[in-house]
Symmetry: C2
């Protein structure tokens, strides 16, 4: 029995193929590469029942992940996050079958750990010793920490305005950390120069082919947790969009395996009104997005003015009859508070954006009555303490509380 049924890398634009035993970045044509597997062989040797008996991490799907030797797996127990029922806020929005996939419960507190776990493991497997990447914070934190566990050196460049906690994570890991007075696109240019000059492995989004495989496990888990069924709609806060690309890949793989039957869920890309290049492209029925100038949003993880995988995100949205929608920052913060008060979950602003989108799409009847809807919360609210503004009474030791409940 093989640990992985990985077959090769292929280019979704020009069809070129590459060997997974070697180090690869983009296709020679400039497109990101995707991972293919020996599906017939896999299907003959693995069943959903086998998977049900395994430990609750994303490595339970190891046959459809790219790491070939289990010894190379770099894990901190990531994956199999809760798929939580959200009955109170669901009722409030008129979406009775509302679930939240809560990616706050992974190492480093965001879904980026999935991409880092698989990406770093495969980097180790193909002999990489040092990598560099730009980040809006959370991906860099995850890669730096998983890199440390793997014994890889890393150089991380992030915008000065990125969440401060992510700086601490990167610095504590021993990585080389630089801040840039600019956006993630500026950080990317600096990394690009360093990659060329020092011959580093470029771990930028989609410039290495394996983080998608880590993120696709969100799709695998949603299907397994629903009893190997698909929901009607999955919504995802879209910056670089790798999670959405990964989920779409996973859903197709499960359908082709025959493990799940029926139509794919409609996939929704949620962006902020201050940075909505995918939404604009979708509204104009285009297959690629344009650079969004002067982008700005408190939901830092989705402040990506031009995603290298935009054409794959748009393809997933078009093929599943999904849509793309932009929401306001203030609406996110209001929804974040409602979710805490109604469901007890302190989610990140990117996750809150998804719930705003659900509320609006239900009002527009794009989400129909009775449909099953899954919201991706991509991270824990505790990583973004500054989104909550509070004014708290301060007592002296001998004081008393005047009123018990409000």
């Amino acid at each position: 029995m093989k640990y992985s049924y990985v077959s090769h890398l292929y280019c979704p634009k020009c069809g070129n193929e590459y060997d997974t035993k070697q180090q690869h970045q983009l296709c020679t044509c400039g497109s990101p590469l995707l991972v293919e597997y020996d599906w017939d062989e896999l299907k003959a040797n693995v069943t959903p029942d086998d998977i049900a008996k395994r430990n609750p991490t994303l490595w339970r799907y190891h046959e459809m992940l790219p790491v070939e030797n289990e010894q190379n797996v770099v894990s901190q127990g990531e994956g199999m996050t809760p798929l939580l029922s959200m009955p109170t806020i669901g009722k409030d929005m008129g979406v009775e079958k509302l679930y939240m996939k809560d990616e706050g419960l992974v190492p480093t507190g965001t879904f980026k750990a999935r991409g880092a776990a698989v990406g770093v493991s495969k980097a180790k497997e193909v002999g990489i010793e040092e990598f560099a990447m730009p980040t809006n914070g959370n991906a860099g934190a995850a890669w730096a920490l998983y890199g440390a566990r793997a014994g890889l050196k890393s150089t991380i460049v992030m915008p000065q305005d990125a969440p401060k906690i992510t700086r601490n994570e990167v610095a504590l890991s021993g990585a080389n950390l630089y801040l840039v007075n600019g956006l993630i696109s500026d950080a990317g240019k600096i990394v690009g120069k360093a990659v060329k000059e020092f011959g580093l492995y470029d771990a930028s989004t989609l410039k290495e082919p394996y983080r998608i495989e880590g993120k696709k496990t969100m799709g695998l888990e949603i299907a397994e947790q629903m009893g190997w069924k698909f929901p009607d709609v999955i919504l995802y806060p879209t910056g670089g969009g790798v999670g959405l690309i990964g989920i779409y890949k996973a859903l197709n793989e499960l359908k082709n395996l025959g493990w799940v039957k029926g139509e794919l869920p409609r996939l929704v890309a949620v962006q902020a009104t201050g940075c909505a290049p995918i939404v604009k492209a979708w509204e104009e029925k285009k297959s690629e997005s344009e650079f969004w100038p002067d982008s700005s949003t408190q939901a830092f993880g989705i402040n990506v003015p031009k995603a290298i995988g935009d054409f794959l995100v748009l393809d997933a949205v078009y093929k599943t009859d999904g849509c793309a929608i932009a929401v306001d920052d203030q609406d996110m913060l209001d929804e974040q508070e409602r979710i805490a008060q109604m469901e007890g979950s302190f989610i990140c602003p990117e996750g809150a954006a998804v719930f705003v989108a659900i509320r609006q799409l239900r009002q527009q009847d794009w989400i129909k009555e009775g449909e099953t809807v899954v919201a991706l919360n991509t991270g824990a609210g505790i990583k973004y303490p500054d989104t909550v503004n509070i004014d708290v009474p301060i007592l002296e030791k001998d004081d008393s509380i005047k009123v018990a409940s409000n």
Copy 2:
């Protein structure tokens, strides 16, 4: 088949018994109450194999938890956190079989979610509508958010110096939050007055009997994750000490059930040198601790100058041939950094304290060569961003990185 085999509450000091259908706080004699189960009936109806098939949350042990009606369960997917191998730091300390139970991967980012999940669920079951509690931050955050999910009102009082993120969690939940210019013991006095004046349920540590049951699931999980075996040593950062009391209770229950054979692990209470009442009592072979004046430590969760359950903590340490040890704040911060660099885990200072203790106890040969050791990391490092001090170079958009690796 019953959902829970809970039988009654009993007093470990005077032996008095109480009905779990009613609301209870301390025993009339002033001692905390513990939960008892119908073990013979449970043993006849449940096996470890049954449990292995269930979802990865602490509710997989529902027969040995106090909630009788599944409808009352208030869950956010807490429990079955990773038991991670720590080979690099383990080798560095001469403890080759070193594991970390990572409680950062729960809602609210600390193990307090376990106590809150079970405590709030049972509070709901016995008809409580409003509770109050003092907290060093994390317990209050967990109770406020789980309380919100359950529809319970809460009043939370925390020291002004408690981690700021926990303020935001409490405030966002809609709870009544007060800060006090003092310690948790001062917050406790203010809560005590409010409880009397407004007839609130007192959810202070061990003044309600059920959070122990939530925390004992850490012990159940460690045993299950080791293949229903005990490690040689379990170390726990000890403030109020409820986790250690809970783990000790769990281990005894598993041994009495016959699910695990062999000697109980030696339990170690780890404190900070700036607040070490349990260590002092243990060194003096006393059964209770004394109030520790002017207590101070960066590991805020273990800044508890006098724990109401001190006698239960000391009893667990004595009965298992364990010990109590105090470590310095600076050592914690150094160890926190080493763990990030060697294992990729950003753990909390309380968790780091445990690793310092392991290093010292191994040097003293109290931990023997070849012993299996489990460290409890009680929370995610991201909840304590201020423990990391960093100095990062800032680049302009057109800058280049000068050196790739250090």
